[in-house]
Structure formats: C-alpha cells, structure tokens
Symmetry: D2
Subunit: 343 residues, 4 copies
C-alpha cells in the first residue's frame, strides 16, 4: 500500500479525492490538509460534505492538518493537490523541496518547460520530464500536473484523430458549475442563464492541449502545431462538460473511420483507468451531461455526433469534470507514478 495525502482536502475536488480513494486497492489515505483555520478539526467538522455518497467513517474522524510539509507525516509517499492555484504556487514548492512526490490538479506551472503535464493514456512518456525537473530545480520530490477539466474532455478525442493529422480546432464548451468549486458560481448568476467566456479557461484549452499532444524527445516537449481556438461557457448543470468540436484534418476520413479511431484510443492498465477510454454514441443527440457523465465510472470520455463539414469533421464530447477532469485525473497520474517507479 502506498500512503497518500491530500493537500486542500475540504473543497469540491478534495471531496472527490476522498470518495475515489475509498476502497482503493493500492492507496491508503494517511493525511488530509486544509487552511490554517481548519487545522486541528476533524475532517467532518472542517468540510461541508456535498458529495452524494456518505463521508467514509475513517476520514470523518481524521484530524485536518495545516498545509505545511512539517505537518505531514514522513511516511506519506504521494500527495494529491487540489489547492487553489494561488496557494499551490506558494506551497507546492515547499513540499517538493521536502522530497514529496506531488500529483497536482492546480493550474499553476502546467505550462512550465520542466513540469510534465500528463494524461496517462495519451502521453505517459512525458513523465520522464521529472529527470529534467530534478536537475533544474534541485528537488528530491517530483511534480506532475494534470490538465484543466475542459482540456481533458477534448484531448483524448484529438489524440485519436491525430492519425489523420490535426491542423486546426475550434471548440465551444458547455461547462458544469462544479468546475468552479463550491463558491465559484452563485446560483443567482446561473439559474435560467449561461455565462460566456469563462475567465482564463479558453487560454488553458488552447495551450494545454498543444503541450499534451506534443512530442517529448527526452529533454523537452515540442508542442503540437495545431491551431486551437476555444470559446468557453458556463451553463446550469451540476457535473459534466459537453464540448462541440470542429477539427480540420490533413486527411479526409469517413465518419465510420472517425468512430473507429475513437474506439481505438489507447488505454492504460491502471486501477482507475477506464476501458475503453472513449465511449462512442451513434444517437445524434448524445452524449448528454446528466445521462453520460458517469461512463467508465466517470473516468471515460463520451463522444458522438460525428459529421463531415466542408473542411473536416465536427463532433461532441463530454467528460465528468470533477472525476476525469480533476480528482480522478490526479489519482490516475498518481497510479502511473507508482507504476513507473517514481514513488
């Protein structure tokens, strides 16, 4: 068993980590941290539990620690981070200096040259950037990031399509409110409404997807050359980001070949990895957030509605933004880190 901890365990993503770690065969939750104000409380006191399964009993009574390397037991081998990025920026380096391996969902440093941004089924080889990272930063630990929830919904489908040569991507998102955390979107803002241009989200999709799809030569990642343009919207759904994608391709595959490419997407033999990675739908009005966000236990991507356009193809994809798009993504990176011997 690997002993793991969660940095920032009381928020929306933190709660998902706890839900997903419950009964995990290889990971044992040994430490939960939150802000100084909650330190010393039990987890049940500190967190306003909002997931639709009960708090695991052993976690409910666990004492919350301050988010500080001195407070985390030495025998914890792997940390999952769901800290707000402004906090993560300041705190994660301290844990790395102290030698911890951190699988982080926070958005800081995702684009840094020496930080692997990884989806295990798509670019596991990028993990070797850790060597470069240790050289450059002098860390004993290792920092790996997973992409933003809107990016991770689309990238597996783009990776599958890249056999036809991706030249340009337009993507429009319909994102669930849980992507912004508990206090992120007020009910007064979103009931009977939609909010365009979610701050920072479009840029994340445009950059992270190109890094994820890039080539790693052992020293650096050369970003994929595709042009990506995103328009990101918040809508009144709880969980599940739906995305309309247009891809212009070098080749001209049939609709059947596109579905085949999706079905062929690579998988990983890791506990939390879904198989298949991409569940395809032939009904034109699927996938839909409420009906399809739990495909593959919330870890798969759903795709459907493939059509030809004059200059390529269009389709829709969807993933569960706080499972595949956040806690589950970090967890899977953690499983890969163990598998590859970094923990």
């Amino acid at each position: 068993m690997t002993r793991v901890g969660i940095l920032g365990a009381t928020g929306a993503v933190g709660q998902r980590f706890i839900q997903l770690l419950d009964d995990h065969p290889d990971f044992e939750l040994a430490a939960v941290t939150a802000s100084e104000a909650s330190a010393g409380e039990t987890y049940k006191e500190a967190a306003k539990w909002r997931v639709d399964t009960p708090i695991p009993e052993d976690v409910a009574s666990m004492t919350v620690r301050a988010t500080d390397p001195d407070e985390v037991p030495d025998d914890v081998d792997l940390l999952f981070s769901s800290l707000p990025s402004s906090v993560a920026e300041r705190v994660e380096p301290k844990f790395l200096d102290a030698g911890y391996v951190v699988s982080s969902n926070s958005s800081n440093d995702r684009l840094a040259d020496d930080v692997p941004l990884v989806i295990p089924e798509i670019n596991p080889e990028h993990l070797d950037l850790i060597e470069v990272q240790r050289d450059e930063r002098g860390w004993d630990g290792a920092l790996v990031k997973n992409p933003n929830c809107s990016t991770i919904t689309m990238v597996p489908t783009l990776a599958a399509l890249d056999r036809f040569g991706i030249e340009r991507v337009h993507v429009s998102t319909l994102q669930a409110v849980s992507g912004a955390g508990y206090s992120g979107v007020s009910s007064m803002e979103i009931i009977d409404n939609a909010i365009p241009h979610i701050g920072g989200e479009e840029e994340k999709m445009e950059t992270e997807s190109r890094k994820l799809l890039g080539d790693f030569d052992g020293a650096e990642v050369e970003w994929h050359g595709a042009e990506v343009s995103a328009s990101c919207n918040r809508i009144p759904t709880i969980d599940g980001h739906l995305e309309n994608v247009w891809a212009e391709l070098d080749e001209d595959p049939t609709v059947a070949e596109v579905y085949e490419a999706f079905a062929d997407a690579p998988t990983q033999d890791l506990y939390t990895a879904p198989d298949p990675l991409i569940e395809t739908f032939t009904e034109p009005d699927r996938p839909q957030p409420r009906l399809d966000r739990m495909v593959g236990g919330g870890m798969a991507v759903a795709a459907g509605g493939v059509q030809h356009t004059d200059s390529g193809i269009q389709y829709n994809c969807l993933a569960h933004n706080t499972i595949r798009g956040a806690a589950g993504a970090s967890l899977l990176n953690g499983e890969l880190l163990v598998e590859e011997g970094w923990v």
Copy 2:
C-alpha cells in the same frame, strides 16, 4: 389601422404575438385561429396562457376560429402565422390562394426560390421576390418568411462583418427551451443537462444565413458564398439564445473595428424595429441570456466578447428567441410589408 389575424394563436409563439400586438399603434388584432378542436372557444379557454403579462382583456374573450380561409373575415389584411410547419405546409397555400398576405414564422418554404426570407434591417430588398412568387404560383396574396430563431441571432452580426469579407463561419449555440414550444422539451430531459445536435437546427443555420446574406438581382437570390458550420445545443434556460461565433474574414480588422461595424448595423424606421440593431458589450462575460435578452425590448441583438484568433475573429451574440427570433420577427416583416405597400 391594418386589421391583422394570427394563425396558430394559442401556442408559445402565438402568445408572444398577442403580447406584442397589444397597444400596437398600426395593427388591430381581428382574428385568432387554432386547431379545429379549439374553434368556438374563447381565447382564454383555448390557450393555456404562459406569458408573464396578463392576457389582454379583449383577446381573452375573442372567439377562436378554425385555421381555414373561410373562417377568417375578409377585412383582415395581414396574417401572422405561427403554425407548426407540418400544418403550415398544408394550410398556408390556401390562405395565399384566397388572397391573404401572410408573414410567417413557420419553417416550411423558407428556402424556396420564390419566397422572400427577410430580416427588415438586413435584406429588405428581398421582399420584391413577391413579384416572382405571384408570377409563379398565381397567388393574389403574398408569403414572406422570417428565419429560424438561431439564425436570426447571428445574421445581423454577420451582415455587419461582411464589410470585411466573410469566408467561413463556425457557430455553436446555447438555445433556450422556449425555442421548442410548450411541449417541445420535457423538464426530465433538460434539468441538470444539455442536449447537443438539436434536430434540423444546424442545417437551418447553415442554409438560411446564406440566403439572407445573398444578393437579389430582381429575379433570384444568389446565396452568399460563405461556408457556415453550426453545432446547436439546448440548455436549461427559458428565453434567449446565446451563440459563440468564429468568423474567418478576407480582411483583418482590429477588435475596435469589429465593435464599430456592429454599432453601425443598419436600422429600419418601423415601430417594432430596435435602434441600434446590435447592442455591444465590452465586458468579456456578456451578453448573458437572463440579463440581456430584453435589449431593445427583446428586438435587438446583443454582441460582445470580440477577440482575434489566428485566422479571424470570435465573439458571442444573443437574441430573445421568441421575440426577435419568432413573433417579433414576423411582426416586423408585417410592418415592412405595410410600409412597402404590399398590404
């Protein structure tokens, strides 16, 4: 005063017609029709009134007529049609044979060569297709159509941008449930959900927009050459379609020039026409359906979020789908028909 009637007056769009005609300075509502089953009832009995202003008293007590030219008084000069298209297909020609001028929101015949598809501020000159229509069909009356609600939201902005030469358009829509009528979208389908690929909607946007932006040489409309690709989604909002648009242009305008083009959009000196036609927003997260659908009394288009992309611009636009996108559009066409002497 022009005496007007409404074909299909009890549905969602029919109710909007009644709301908009209340206190209209030039139009007097003289007849309301519905299906055979409701004929003979008062309007209040026949319609389940769901608009947020009370039924005008004189309409409440009006007797509903069958949708048949023999049932409509001869002194009614102009008919607005919000019949289901399957019914309109069968019934509208009878009214035209009988010499009525019909301003119709129904989707049948919108693409017919001899039927003007008109937005008064954008292509009023297309109205002259009525000459061709009368020649070909032998009608005494005249049939003019307004476009689909999702099309009409975007086309004014495209018309404004065409000074820079539109080559290609990608558009993704977030459409309100009222666009499908009262029984169109079940609450079980849409709460905490979104539905991609609304049946038929994408094709309407791709074709109608090109006809609306086309050149009319007195005999026929040559469709605009732009390539348009749409992805249409239903979301849990009541009214107001929000659309993410990417336009590839011949020229390379600055963001400021784009806003200027929007602000310069043409207007019409008609009672229901808004001024300006396009209300622009500089806050990046606007327009939003609940906050902005009533710009220009529900008759203007809201636009904002203009950004450069590698190959053109992207922006968001929004309009009230049952006012500008349906009843208000037909009403405005009716005003133009009167203004131009067709009624």
Copy 3:
C-alpha cells in the same frame, strides 16, 4: 426464479423497473408490454431510454408485446404494472381474469375496499385482503397496489410516530418532475418556477395514508382516524420528493424520542428492502433531494430536522420518487407476494 413481466415498460417508471430487475436474484424478466403502436418493435426501438445506466443488453433486443393477456406467455407468474391509470383501469381486470398476479403502481383502485394497498414494512398483513378480493371479484389472479410517490415518502415516518398517537398531519411537498412522467411537466413550465396544487396529488396523500395506517381485521381495513391535510408543489428537481411534515400527537415525545422512533422503523427481510427503513439526519438542512435521494439504494426514506412546535412536532422527510415511490415499491410488493406464497 419467478418469471415476471412489465405492463407499460417503455415509460419513466417502466425504465426504472428494468433497471431494478437487472441482476435481481429471484426475478427473471420475461415479457415487456407497451401500447399497440410499439408492439413488435425491439425494446430499444420502442423506448427512449433515459435512465443513467445503459439498457441491459438482453432487454434491448426483447420484442415489445401489446398489453393484452393473450400476448403474454403463460409461464409468466407475476406482472408489474406502470400503465397510465386510465389505461390500467381498463386493462388490469383482463389480466386478473386471466389469472395473473399483478403488483401495480397505477393509481386506479388504490382505495377500493378489496384491493390491498401495501408498503411491505408497514402493513404487510393487508395483503390478505386478496382473499376478500378473490371472493368478491371471482378473479384467479390477485391485484396489489402500492401508494402514490408523495404518500410513500411520508407514511413510514407517520407509522413510526404512531406509537405517540397521531391526531393531525399537515404536509407540504416539494416534488420532483419525474413524478409526472416524461411528458408530464414541460421545461417551459418549471425552469425558474414552482407549481402549487398538483392535480389530484393532495387528495391521494390525504386518503392513501389513512388506508395504509389502518387496521385490517381479516375482512376490511378501517382507515386511521388522523386528519391529514396536504399541499403539493412541483419544483425544478429531477428526482426525490422533499416533504415538510407537522404532526400533532397524543403524547409529547422529546426530539430524541422521535429520532429513536424513526430509527426503530420496521424492516422486511426482502431483497429490495432497505435496512434501516428510515435514515435519520441530525444536520438541520438535511435531507436534500440531490444529496440524499439514493439512501438505501433509493429504497429508504430520509428524515431529519425534527423540532418541537406548540402542538406537536415538525420534521422533513424525503424519498426517491421513481424508486421507492414507484418501480421499487411495486417490486418490493412483488417480493412480498412471492414470500407470502401468493405467486
């Protein structure tokens, strides 16, 4: 294995039956019926599947039959009915004449003197009304009903409180849209809204609850003497009815004694029966529909917020309206029928 069939299998409740019967250890689904129009189609063709788990594969390919005793195989021993009550009224007697045992969720005949209205944990002894029923109707089969979804949410808590002597009940409901079936509540009616006085629902709560809590002397059920007054509202939630209850009691229990009574509610040793029957919450703002509707796999009742008032107690309760409140209720009655030897 008992071979079972579903009458009215394609609707919202029918789909829940199929979901719940999948992997049932004692029941094997052998026949699905729907309206004449769907007869001969596969289930997948006939039903617009909307449950959030996939259609079981063997059911997807099953041929839908007309809802007629001649069409159902003779070796089917038990039928679940989720027909619209207007259809059930006409069709259920035919199946009973033909000797079938029917566990029905349809509202017709629930108050008939010789039809057992049963919640297995609360009044299993009422099942013996079947003797009376067979005598009076000359049926070989047997008809048992479960109560309405809003009734079944409250009655287990009232049964638990009756040790203190219930004199009067006021109950206000916040009901989910799935209670009305797929086409029951239009999205245009309910988004950003609530609808009071759901037709017929208040009367069902006021009568069914008294019959369920009544005494059966072997010949007839004497209804409970409590006065029950209900106010029923529809709100924009998908599943789970939340109810505010005030109970005036003979005795004056402490809040702790009330929670204890809830925790002591009887259970049944049947496959689908939850244990405990009532899950209690001490957080004042629980239970909540989205967080708590799945307690006990959707078969338990959640209760909390117990407070003293000047004349009794008030509290909140909640149950999943299409599981415990519909398909699960009929299924559990079916299990009881088998257990008690009626099948």
Copy 4:
C-alpha cells in the same frame, strides 16, 4: 424632492433600491455607500450590476462613499439600509445618533420593543413607536424596519383573514435564491435540489408576523396571539417566494368569503403601493413564481388555491422577495415616513 441615500448599495438588494428609485417622483438619490474597500470608486466600478435593466447613468458615475455618517452629506434626509445585519447592528446606531431617519431592511432590531416593524398597508400606526424610541434611545433620527421577505409574503393575507379570527398558522415556504444575496446560495448547492430549514428564517416568520399583526396602544405593541409554525425551504428559482399556508380560524368562512377578504385588503395612497394589495387567482395552480412575481409591479401579493380543510382553510401566496420583500418594502416605509411627517 427628498434627498435619499442607500447604505450598502452594491449588493443584490442595493441594486433593487437603485432600480426602484430611478424616476421616483419624490425621492432623489444623493448618496450610495458600501464597504471601506469600495469607497472612492464609481458605483459602476464597485458594483457587479446584475439587475435586468441597465444601471441608471447618473448612478453609474456616482462616487461610492464609506458607510459612515461623516461621509454622507448633511442634506440627505432619508437613508435606506440594506447592510448585512452584522454590519447594520454596528453602523445603524451611528446614523441614528447623527440624526438620520433610516428605513432599514436589515434583520437586526426588528423585534426590539421600541423599533417599529411596519408594512404600510397593514400596521402604519406602529410608526408612532418612533416617539418611544426617541425617548428611550436619545436619538434625533428614527429607525423603522420592514419584515423579512418570507414574512411579508404571508402577513397581508393573514391580516385580511384576521376578520375571521386567526388561531393557528402552519406555513411552508418555497423561497427563491435571491433572498440570500449574490453569494448566499452556491449553484452547486441548489441545482436539481432543494434545501430545507433555511437558517433563522423559520423563527423570523414565527415572531415578526405576530408583531406586525399586534395591537399598538401608543406605548407598546402587544403581539398577536396566534400560534405560527413555519418550515422554510430554498428552491432553484431566481425571484419570488411561494408559500403554502394553513390557517385555523375562529369562524368558518366560505371559500368565496376568503377571496373577498383578500380582495378587500387595505391599500395606501403612496407612490410605490400597489392597488389592490392582494391579487387573487382562481386557477388552482396559481400563483407561480415566474408568472406572477411581478403582479403590482412586484409590490403586490398574489394569492390563490383557497380550500377548506377540516379545521380551517389552506391557500397559497407569493410575493417578489427582493421588491416587495426587501428594497420595495423599505422604500414604501420611506414614503410613509415622509407622508406622516417624520422626514
């Protein structure tokens, strides 16, 4: 013209004040305050404007002041307060010491013996408590409060019914999210959900209603003797609180007499006062929040669904919680203060 100011002008209720004061014939907005952090900014900079009409231009450019008597110009005669109650508790006394007349929506001090809690149509005579207040507190100014939004929805109907002698009231509420302010209810908490037992709300309804309906003998208010028990729930609606009420009465009026009593509710000859005060609906499924919250410009109460029960009557009522229930209530109290010569 009376020069008025708003304390706490940037929040949800503050924005409603500004909307309602725009074009007010007798009040001129002369000062807006907010927290220290916003002081010195323009109103447009300080407020995230979320009302569905544009910010009045003169207000947009107004400089926001700190909420401090020294910062408000001396020639402002009347202040409206929508401060959070924890702030109001501390700050309102300073303005009263400084001689200002304050019409406050904040919940602190509503039950204080010497603070008039007033609905102008119901208990205008309570305003004379100001004499007592000045004696006891030594203030030059005057403090008047309006009740909580859930209380004010019900009390006009109870006042109308008191001609039949109210003995006991049970009330269950379905409250809109705007009642909790912009950051009050997270979208993650309320979409596809309902939350029972809103903190503090039940107690407010139980106490404030009895004070409002009480007798004032010139020295003190004797609270009404009715027993009131409330159960308060939050649901996913934007504006408009719907309430299910049961009233036990001394007498036994017919349903028609109850509607007549509602229709006879007193009115006030003040600019913002609606006429009638109570709009009655005979359709059983009305009033509904989205359709009926704007009756009387948002200042009337809607009531309907009257039925007999074994021990009294039950009915439903509704009011706009941020207009009649907050900003409009304070504004109307301000108009009464001017009318009665206190300003």
